[in-house]
Symmetry: C2
Subunit: 230 residues, 2 copies
Amino acid sequence: MEELQYHYKYPHPAVTTDCVIFGFDGDKLNVLLVERGIEPFKGCWALPGGFLGMKETAEECAARELREETGLKDAYMQQFHTFSSINRDPRERVITIAFYALVRIQEVIGGDDAAQAQWFPLDATPELAFDHEEILEAAKQTLREQIHFEPVGFELLPEKFSMKQLQQLYEAILGVKFDRRNFYNKMLHIGVLTPLNETEWFSNRKESFLYKFNPEKYEEMKRKGFKLEF
Amino acid sequence: MEELQYHYKYPHPAVTTDCVIFGFDGDKLNVLLVERGIEPFKGCWALPGGFLGMKETAEECAARELREETGLKDAYMQQFHTFSSINRDPRERVITIAFYALVRIQEVIGGDDAAQAQWFPLDATPELAFDHEEILEAAKQTLREQIHFEPVGFELLPEKFSMKQLQQLYEAILGVKFDRRNFYNKMLHIGVLTPLNETEWFSNRKESFLYKFNPEKYEEMKRKGFKLEF
DNA sequence: TCAAAAGTGTTCGCTATACACCCATGG
DNA sequence: CCATGGGTGTATAGCGAACACTTTTGA
């Protein structure tokens, strides 16, 4: 028989955090999923997540999950919604605080539980456990909105990147196509990119210039009020 | 001695919702606060809120709080953040799902607990219980961001309003001043306003034309992609 | 008759957009 | 030598910001 050693005067729901971990492979946006090893939904793919400890905030809990799955310690991470449908979990009432994280896919090493973690392109995700499809959909929507105010793109790219990569990322997030020349002009004009005098071969036709993100410039622009129109 | 009749294998935090209820009085943005009748923070002003029932979602819980305080049944309401600091509440671990609501201040009637509810201008709020100052600050920030994508302003105004009122509301939310003529032109140009052939006397100098919000036009614009720049 | 509120247009500069040309490379 | 990828510049239209005049009314 189970020991039920925690007692309360009123009923309490369980609280978890779930993480939608986005990574960009240079072509498509991907999300990291784990295969559940226990019931319910055993064998089903799900978002990484877990119960909130009593001595940690939701942010700490989500960061812990991220570290366990990716080995990353300080990725960009943001709370975006709390899901509280009554029957989310068949075991008991569970509400989950959902986060999304942006990571450089190259930096991800197998975490503690990495055996069953796997990247999926956003347009080819499997069926998910619980209400995780809804959570994933909400995360995608939030990311699309955030990108207008925050340079979230840069969190997903390596330190040095080509303009083409940056464009592909924005196209992948927003689901639209941009004119290559206008995209170059705009990005260079707003000034958050520092051109490097380096090139790299991405295609086998021609080498590309590399850029890096300029955080000081970005902070300055955010203070003055800022818009990134697309 | 208290009866502790709810038992769990693992510790569970308590979960509440808190509501930041904004109202516009034609001049300034206001927030509805309640005076706490019980410990902790007895006598202190706080955001309306309460414990999540086991048979209601966070959204239902917040709507219930709103109804109890304002008598309103279907105001605009939006979840914006979940606060989970460890010692938010001295009694036990409590996490709170925070919502903000936009209501027409004229439509608010005394709710069930109205005796101790009171509107405060945003620039003259008293000291608040718990971490409610932080919650209020986050709500203001969220509202400022939302107003660029959603016509949240209209939720705060009466059905018929003058251009001046609309401008004052936007100024109050964003904390800036606009050129009266440019504001008129822009608002009329984007087409979400329907001019009414009616006037009303707001000042004692000259009567003002009235407008109403056009939701169909707004939905159409939102589908096509949309920006409200200020 | 003067001050304050409110309604209406014009001008200018910037920027988003559409679009064309050149260079380098591998086959 | 040509197809492909990649770098750069220009012309135009539309929008945002600055700005002036008129009318109405109460004091």
